[in-house]
Amino acid sequence: ALDKVSFGTNWFAEPEHGGFYQAVVDGTYAKYGLDVTIVQGGPQANNLLLMIAGKIDFYMGGNMIQTYAAVEQKVPSVVVAAMFQKDPQIIMSHPGEGLDKFEDLTKSPIFVGKEGLASFFLWMESAYGFKEEMVRPYNYNTGPFLADKKSAQQGYVTSEPFAVEKQAGFRPNVFLLADLGFNTYATTIETRQDLIDKNPDLVQRFVDASIIGWYHYLYSDNAKANEAIKKDNPDMTDEQIAFSIAKLKEYGLVDSGDTLKLGIGAMTDERMKSFFDKMVKAGVVKADTDYKQAYTLRFVDKGVGLDLRPK
């Protein structure tokens, strides 16, 4: 029989979760002996807490900051794989308003959400001199940004620029934080330490199958996965999905750098240390945090699925 496994995402179903849906619908998980249920997240849903409490088995983490914070609180959750090499987090601004360089944005009002304020914005402050006073609240509504031509706004490279283009008819300036030094892994797979200790095989199978799912989603027929996404989230449009997938590829969010040799999901100690040091400098985490507890390389970097990559 298949092992029942639940996986909590951190947002409504979208192409950024495509690989996981792909593995569900194309039978990859089943092939690895898993019966996976995807539990959608949302703006207030706290699937991380459910994972920690043992209600679900795996959780899709946003970036590494929350994981470092968890270590600070002695929460036994561990990152076992990183599906995105780059965080899709961007800042965008109106073109031709004197805000065309990232450095220009420090003087303009900037719409940032609560979680952003507790994470990447702290890094923007320390690395680029952004100021908290300029922050305006962002509630996943682009209207206020569109209304103020002198403003900037956070977003996901796969999502907000599309909305802006569609609604307001212009292409905003897009600054991918990952390309500016915010070198966290993203869209991670996290699980509890006790699951790793008790059933490492299950973890390995979930990681491997998810990686394969991502290869298929990016490079093979992903129509069924998109249908599944649309079923979970009826507000998702084909146009949006196409845009997202294009951006995933264009920016190499999933498959670039280390993954070319190590396979999707790759993580390295160097990247982890580099990012941790930046966060310490930004004051996001304390320097004495034992950040190595936040992840393990035991399940990745094995070149799983490399053969599925088109040459």
Binding site: P43, N46, K166
Partner: protein, 268 residues
């Protein structure tokens, strides 16, 4: 207080027509402002666009509305049972009231957003949603009913005591009827709060997958900058709220018209 309107048939007609006119004027004003100031539809859509969206997106929206309505009415039911039940319990003894009322206050002021994740851990999602909505809605009913139970005419209380009424009889035959106007007042507040509660609960307990109610629709449509749909959902919420309110106003009239000052039309 408006003497001119009292009783006359003309007054009655105006009673219905005037609110409708005012409402239409408000909608027309909104449409005008949007057009004249050229407000883009992704900020504030014109009512005409909202109406179109309401029609075109009806299949999606009606499903979500149904989900939200189910939660709203369950929450309202729970709030009425819980609020009135607690009020009755508190009326039994000042000690019980003093000892446990603070917990009711704590429950009222606790932001559901903060405790919803915990509830989701210990309760299954539908129950957690219901619990959140209940927390939002029950307090006005509790508070008003408590006040009403305490406001029974002391002379009538004496009468009941004299005739050896049991605590239960005093409650059923005296305190509850006397509390009715207060309770119904609480219900008119609680009805709206159940709706709010259902929406907040859906967001807070975040069970996007299972129940995609109007809250999910709003969040997701906001995220997609689909403001016409956001407003269409808001219109549905407003209509639901007004319907609940009108229903309770009607109920109040039916229940109190024989005796309570607040709804009695006096023969003059």
């Amino acid at each position: 207080m408006s003497e001119a309107a009292r009783g006359s048939a003309g007054g009655r007609v105006l009673d219905v027509i005037l609110p409708i006119l005012v409402f239409l004027a408000a909608v027309a004003g909104w449409e005008a402002v949007v057009r004249i100031r050229n407000i883009p539809h992704y900020l504030v859509p014109a009512p005409s666009l909202v109406a179109t969206t309401l029609v075109s997106d009806w299949p999606t929206l009606s499903g979500s509305l149904w989900v939200t309505l189910k939660v709203t009415f369950s929450a309202l039911f729970a709030a009425v049972v819980g609020g009135v039940g607690l009020a009755i319990l508190f009326a039994q003894s000042r000690w019980i009231e003093r000892s446990f009322y603070p917990f009711a206050v704590i429950l009222q002021v606790t932001p559901v957003i903060a405790i919803a994740p915990l509830l989701v851990i210990y309760l299954d999602p539908p129950t957690a949603v219901l619990a959140c909505a209940f927390i939002v809605a029950f307090f006005p009913i509790l508070s008003n009913t408590t006040l009403g139970l305490a406001s029974a005419d002391h002379n009538l209380v004496d009468l009941f005591k004299l005739y050896g009424a049991s605590r239960w009889q005093q409650l059923i035959r005296l305190r509850l009827p006397a509390a009715l106007p207060y309770f119904l007042g609480g219900l008119r507040v609680g009805g709206g709060l159940s709706l709010i509660g259902a929406i907040v609960a859906e967001i807070a307990a975040g069970t996007a997958g299972q129940g995609s109610g109007l809250a999910f629709r709003i969040v997701e449509s906001t995220f997609r900058q689909n403001m016409p749909r956001v407003f269409a959902a808001l219109v549905l919420i407003a209509v639901t709220g007004i319907t609940i309110f009108l229903f309770f106003t009607l109920l109040t009239h039916l229940l109190l018209r024989h005796w309570h000052e607040s709804v009695r039309r006096r023969d003059t």
